[in-house]
Point group: C2
Chain length 431, copies 2
């Protein structure tokens, strides 16, 4: 007879519902593939009265998550409640009890991953979190296992579906940010308070997790330089297009001189780059490794069933290990590294200036750039009269110098306003 | 002290050299990540006199592969010699001895996978073959493990780098097939006998392996309907472009009415499809799963280090399992399925006809199509006089009907020649 692995689920919202649906629907195949039956024996929810559909029996529902963690009839804890508290304590308790944990909680892992990995290691049990980064896309496992013999040099990701949806529509329709955001909210692609998404914070959490894994070190969300897409305009997108780029919100992690550079911000990306073709609410993670070369992993970054699929994949992994009293691959954090300040970043920049429409403006602007060691790759004027603008693309420059330049440009009489500053990630990404 | 896992390598050509290089270069990280030292203790080669570089000591080299398999100081067998014989017998012997095997041998797995999986299962040891499909791209492991709780509905891959390189150059330069092939041969992107690549056979082997995994069944290379890119012309590519498509050599596997349809052929693919952006010698595998949705895995499909990276990833997996006397996920082949004949395929078609430039031609052609239950979505004439051509795009039609149509068109007086017939894989792929 097939062995039964009993699951205790913490939370049963969007993702939890997806997990329950998938486990019920694919039960026979899962048993055939793993030799085990996966059964949800306990579920902690906030509102026990809510109808959970046919996938979950009423009898398994409770309002006490710690009861689920500690229950004798729970072998594996599946945390899909989100947030740092009480999820963190519940997971720690589960590990302490020797129960493997599967979580979809990016916020928690991005802030407390190092401690949780250590707790899992100490307890000798699995902690899996594929669903915490980029929804359905298998990326944690490939990084941790498939690339375990390789040396990851850089990770570049489109890690947030809402912002990619907004930027895609702005690009394809020439529309303004506010207009598309309103639409996205109406369609349910963006929250009524969209800050976590459009401000880049959600992407920053995922980027921290990926950077930790990529470089065998500890990177936390607060280490990630984070800028959102709120100030990206239709003009910026038009200029990018004209120069052969698209604008994407990128999470970029790399190691320079033994320090980790890790940042999330909108950037110009060459149209020929594989990430440039990632449209709508899709996510993708581009990984550059010494031996493997350039890899990309693409798929839906969110949603009940996509995220549920990643959770169930983890549950099966953990179950297979349980059946053999084995453990999956663990995070290696053997290389402590400092975080490289954003001021030391070297990349190209696009700068859009509202200027007076008269002779001598370019000379004034060029002098300021030259004084700050920023050299100009390309410059042209857009519009005339009151709507005159100067478009500048720099050669590789230091972020610190660029910022000083922008401050100084604010004081130049012929410059009415610094309208936009965006990083340009050329074929060879900034280092 | 770290435990040592001793590797016996069969073959040391391009891939084997890559494996040795990576193992030497990343040794410290690999040990930190796995808790084991991986050491090549034996290598079987054809020419023992050849210099293998600093990564391999002379003392480990032998010309007898069976000696490597059976050696007491070999814990894991790494087969990178290729070909079905003697590789198959060596692997079977290794499994029999309880030694896990890592192989990069697509030909062997595509023909004898079912027997090898069974042998590994019977022996209770791992058989890993990530490198056999799409080089560096982690795809076997994600399919076998990450998607173990999902239901794969369709796999579509660009599985051969040579043909994708040729088609990309034809597309971007408007060049002819013969010209680009010659160039590709001169540059080392194509073999002097390019049949295995351009004829679609290499892609068919990989497609068979993916189909087996995707649908928990047994698909062999000979089950794959296979057509190559030799007859794709610059005109075909130009027409595709005009209609919003690119031409790619696709491997497509799906299940219809409990039968597996599995085919490799050049096809029109919408430019907006993620696979359309896969350029040059890159590979990519697009997976459609019930819960996860649309995933894509992208990367280099060949090369010493990319393929070596996949082999080393497998070796580490296998080593981790050995250390715990555990086993990785096994192939499930619990669903025996018939192969669906290509004649039953339903998709759209592009047909290019050389025709007489006179009134009534379209009526004749349209009558033939109508008689065979093939309806026309779009039609126009290209060129005049002796170079007059009729371009047809059909609605969804049965392959059998389309073939009968083409045969019948050959007998139509105003049709001088059926110049091209290609399948059109629209947004919703043919089923």
């Amino acid at each position: 007879m097939d062995r039964v692995i009993r699951l205790g689920m913490l939370g049963c919202g969007t993702v939890g519902g997806g997990v329950a649906t998938i486990l019920a629907r694919e039960a026979d195949d899962i048993t055939a593939r793993t030799g085990a039956k996966l059964e949800i024996t306990r579920v902690a929810v906030r509102d026990p009265g809510k109808d959970r559909g046919p996938a979950l029996a009423d009898s398994v529902v409770t309002t006490d998550p710690m009861e689920v963690v500690e229950a004798e009839d729970v072998d594996v804890v599946v945390e899909v409640m989100g947030g740092r508290r009480p999820a963190g304590d519940l997971i720690r308790r589960a590990l302490e009890l020797g129960k493997p944990v599967v979580t979809a909680n990016k916020e928690l892992v991005a802030h407390e991953g190092a401690e949780l990995y250590a707790a899992a290691r100490a307890a000798g049990v699995d902690l899996a979190y594929e669903a915490a980064v980029a929804g359905a896309i298998p990326i944690i496992k490939p990084m941790k296992e498939s690339l375990a013999g390789d040396h990851v040099q850089r990770v570049v990701g489109i890690l947030n579906g809402t912002t990619n949806y907004i930027l895609t529509r702005m690009t394809e329709e020439g529309a303004d940010y506010d207009e598309v955001l309103g639409d996205a909210q109406a369609l349910g692609y963006a929250e009524s308070d969209p800050t976590a998404d459009v401000g880049g914070h959600d992407a920053a959490a995922k980027c921290a997790i990926l950077a930790s894994l990529a470089f065998d070190t500890t990177v936390r969300q607060e280490d990630v330089f984070t800028a959102g897409i709120e100030s990206v305009t239709a003009t910026d997108i038009r200029v990018a297009d004209r120069l052969g780029y698209v604008i994407k919100l990128l999470g970029i992690a790399s190691v320079v001189d033994d320090r980790v550079g890790v940042r999330v911000h909108p950037a110009f990306l060459p149209k020929t780059h594989p990430l440039a073709a990632v449209r709508g609410s899709y996510n993708a993670v581009f990984v550059q490794a010494r031996a493997a070369g350039e890899l990309m992993f693409y798929g839906p970054g969110a949603g009940a069933e996509p995220t549920g699929s990643a959770v169930v994949g983890d549950v099966i992994d953990v179950a297979r290990n349980l059946l053999q009293t084995a453990r999956g691959a663990t995070e290696s954090q053997h290389r402590p590294m400092e975080i490289r300040p954003i001021e030391e970043l070297t990349t190209q920049y696009y700068v859009l200036l509202d200027v007076e429409d008269r002779a001598g403006v370019l000379a004034q602007v060029a002098t300021v750039l030259g004084d700050h060691d920023v050299s100009i790759a390309q410059v042209w004027q857009e519009g005339r009269g009151d709507s005159a603008q100067l478009v500048l693309v720099t050669h590789q420059a230091r972020e610190g110098n660029l910022r000083a330049t922008v401050d100084a440009l604010d004081g130049v009489s012929s410059v009415r306003n610094v309208a936009s500053v965006l990083r340009v990630e050329s074929e060879v990404f900034g280092s």
